[in-house]
Assembly symmetry: C2
Homo-oligomer: 413 residues x 2
Amino acid sequence: MKNMALIVQKYGGTSVGSPERILAVAEKVARRRASGDDMVVVVSAMSGETDRLISLAKSVNPQAPARELDVLISTGEQVTIALLSMALERRGCAARSYTGSQVHIRTDNSHGKARIIDIDDARVRDDLGKGRVVVIAGFQGVDEDGNITTLGRGGSDTTAVAMAAALKADECQIYTDVDGVYTTDPRIVPNARRLDRITAEEMLEMASLGAKVLQIRSVEFAGKYRVPLRVLSSFEEGPGTLITYEENEMEAPLISGIAFSRDEAKVTVRGVPDKPGIAARILGDIGSANINVDMIVQNVGADGTTDFTFTVHRGDYRQALEILKKTAGQLAAREVTGDDKIAKISVVGVGMRSHAGIASTMFKALADESINIQMISTSEIKISVIVDEKYMELGVRTLHAAFGLDKQPTAGR
Amino acid sequence: MKNMALIVQKYGGTSVGSPERILAVAEKVARRRASGDDMVVVVSAMSGETDRLISLAKSVNPQAPARELDVLISTGEQVTIALLSMALERRGCAARSYTGSQVHIRTDNSHGKARIIDIDDARVRDDLGKGRVVVIAGFQGVDEDGNITTLGRGGSDTTAVAMAAALKADECQIYTDVDGVYTTDPRIVPNARRLDRITAEEMLEMASLGAKVLQIRSVEFAGKYRVPLRVLSSFEEGPGTLITYEENEMEAPLISGIAFSRDEAKVTVRGVPDKPGIAARILGDIGSANINVDMIVQNVGADGTTDFTFTVHRGDYRQALEILKKTAGQLAAREVTGDDKIAKISVVGVGMRSHAGIASTMFKALADESINIQMISTSEIKISVIVDEKYMELGVRTLHAAFGLDKQPTAGR
C-alpha cells in the first residue's frame, strides 16, 4: 500500500504560459491528488505577464516607487492562481487559491527583493485537511504593515521551498523546462547524462557557473531547512534530479558535472611592487566602477614584483582595461595586458575533497588535447581553468569523457 | 482663505483606460491636492481589462467558481491603483495604493455581488494625516475569512460612496464620460441643459429610466448616509451635477428632467373576468418565465370584465405574448393584443408633489402635437406615458419645451 505524502510543486511562467498549459498542469496535479497525496502548488506569473506589467509601469513613471511596483507585479501570480484553481475545479478537484498575503508569507520590507521571515501555515493545513489542493502565488509576500512585497525575479522557487519547509513536506518539486540537472550541457556533449541526484553544494557551484536550473537562493534556502528538492520537466515525464544534503562522501562520485562559461575576459598587471595593499588597491578601483570580478590569481613574483590577473564579465572588459591602465601608472607597474577571447571550464564534485588526483587527471586530459591552461583557481569542491575560447567545447567534451560522466556511476547515485 | 476639504474622487474604466489617461488623472488629482484638499481616489480597472480576464477564465473553466473569479478579476483594479500611485509620485505628489482587502473593505461572502458591511478607515486617515493621496481599488473587498470579494459590475461607485461615508468626506465626486446629469438626452433635444443640482430621488427615477450616469445602488447608498455626491466629466472641466438630499421643496423646480426608453413593448388582455386574483394569475405566469414587467395598468371594466395591460422589455415581447395567450385561454378572456413599436416618456421632479397641474400640462402639450397617449402611469415624483415609438423624439422635445427645461430655473437651483 502506498503511503500518502505531502508534496509541494512549483510551476514556472513557461509551464503556465497559456490557458492550455494551465489545463495541462491541472491535469498533472489532479492525477497526483487522486492518487492520495496532499498537494500544495506554487505558481509564477504567466510568461510575458511580468514584462508587460513592468512596461506599463515605465510608461507612467520610469522611476516607479518600489512599493507600487510590487502592488502591480504581484497581480501576475494572482491571475495564475485563480486560473489554475478554476482549471482544477473543472476537473472535479477541489482547490483554493491564495495570494502571498492571504497565507501570511511574512517578509521584510525590501520591496522587489524581500526575504521571507515567517509563514503561517494554519490556513493551508486546514484546506489540506479538507482534501483541497492549495494553490499559492509565488514570488510575493506581505510585510508587517500589510504592504505587498515581492521576492525578486525567480522568487517563486523560494516560495515553494519555504512553504515546503513550513509544512515539513515530503518533497518540493520544481517544474521547469528542463528535465533535470545534467553532467554538462547536452548541446555541447550529446551523451551528457541526467543526474538522478546531486548535492546542494554541487548544485550551487553548477548554478553559479551557468547551469542555471534553479535560483541559487532557493537552493540555499532548501539546504538550510533540509527540504528534499527535485527538479523536473513540465513537458516530459521523468524522475528529474533530486538535490540532497548527504554528508556521506563514501558513496559520492568524484565528479558530478562539468560547468563552463564563455562570457569571460581576463586582465593582467605585470611587474607591480610585491607589497601589502596592492591587490586591494587594484581591485578597489575596479569595484568602484561596479565591475564584478570572478577569478583572481596572483603568483609569487621575482625581483620584488609580482603579476596580478583577474577575470571579469566580457561586457566589462574594455572599461576594466582602461581603469587598470590608470591604476598601473600610479603603481609604476611594468605592463597591462588582457584577453577577451577566453572561456572558463570547471569540474565540480563533493568527492574531490578526499581525492587529490582530480586536478592531475584534469590537467593531463587537457594537455593530451594540447589545450593550454592560462589560469587555475580551486575551491573545496571545484577546480576551474581558463583556456582559449576556441578550445571550450573540446575541453568540456574531453573532461566529460575523462571523468566517465557519460556512464552511470558505480557508487551509490 | 480657502478651507481645506476632504474629497473622495472616483474614476471609471474609460477615465483610466491607458497610461496617458492615468497621467491625466494624476495631473488633476495632484493639482487639487496642491490646493490644500485631502484626497482619496477610487479607481476601476482599465477599460477592457475585466473583459480580458473573464475571457481567460472562460478558456480554462466555462463555469468558473465565483470565489476564484473574484481573485482573478480583482487584479484589474490592483493594476490601476499601482499605476495611478506611480503617476502621482512622478509628479512629486506622495501617494499610497491599497487593495480593498488592505483597507479592510469588509463585505459579506456573496462572491461577484458582495455588499459592503464595514470599512476600517484608520489606515486611510493615517496616510491623509501624512499628506499622502490615498488610492483605493474600487469594486472589491474582503470577507470575514480573508477571501477576496467583488461588488459586481459598476461597484466602484459604491466603493467611493462607502469610503466617503466612512471618512465623512465633504464631497464624493464621480468622474465619468459625461459632464453631469441633463434635463434630457442632448442627442434628442440639443438645448437640453446640465442640471447644477438634482435630488437623489429624482436621480433614481432618471437612472432607472435610462439616463444611466450612476449605478442606482451607489445613489441609494449615498442617500442612506447623506453623502454629497457629484457627477463630473473626466475629460472636460466643469462643475458637474450635485446630487442633494434636500427636503425643502419650496425651492425645487416643478420638473427636473425628461427620461425616455425605446426598449419597450406592451401586451394587453381584454375582457378578463373582473375578480380578485386575476392580475396575480396573469403576472405569475410571466414572472415564472423570468420576464420583467415595468408599467402595469388595469382599468375599471364594464359587463363584469376588465382590460389588463403591462409593458415588458422589447426582447421579451414574443415570449410574453405566447405565455399570455395560454393564460388568456384558461381565463376565458376575450382577446390578447400587443404592440412592440412603443416608447415610454417620463417627466420627473420632486416639485410635482405639490403641483397638481403637471399632468394636465404634460397631456395638453402632447395633444397639441397630436401625440396619442396609449397608457399612463404615475408615481409620487414621476408621470410616465406610453406613445407610438415614432413620436418619441417629438414627444421628448415637446415636453422639454413645455416645462421650460432649456431655461435656467428661477427657483433656487
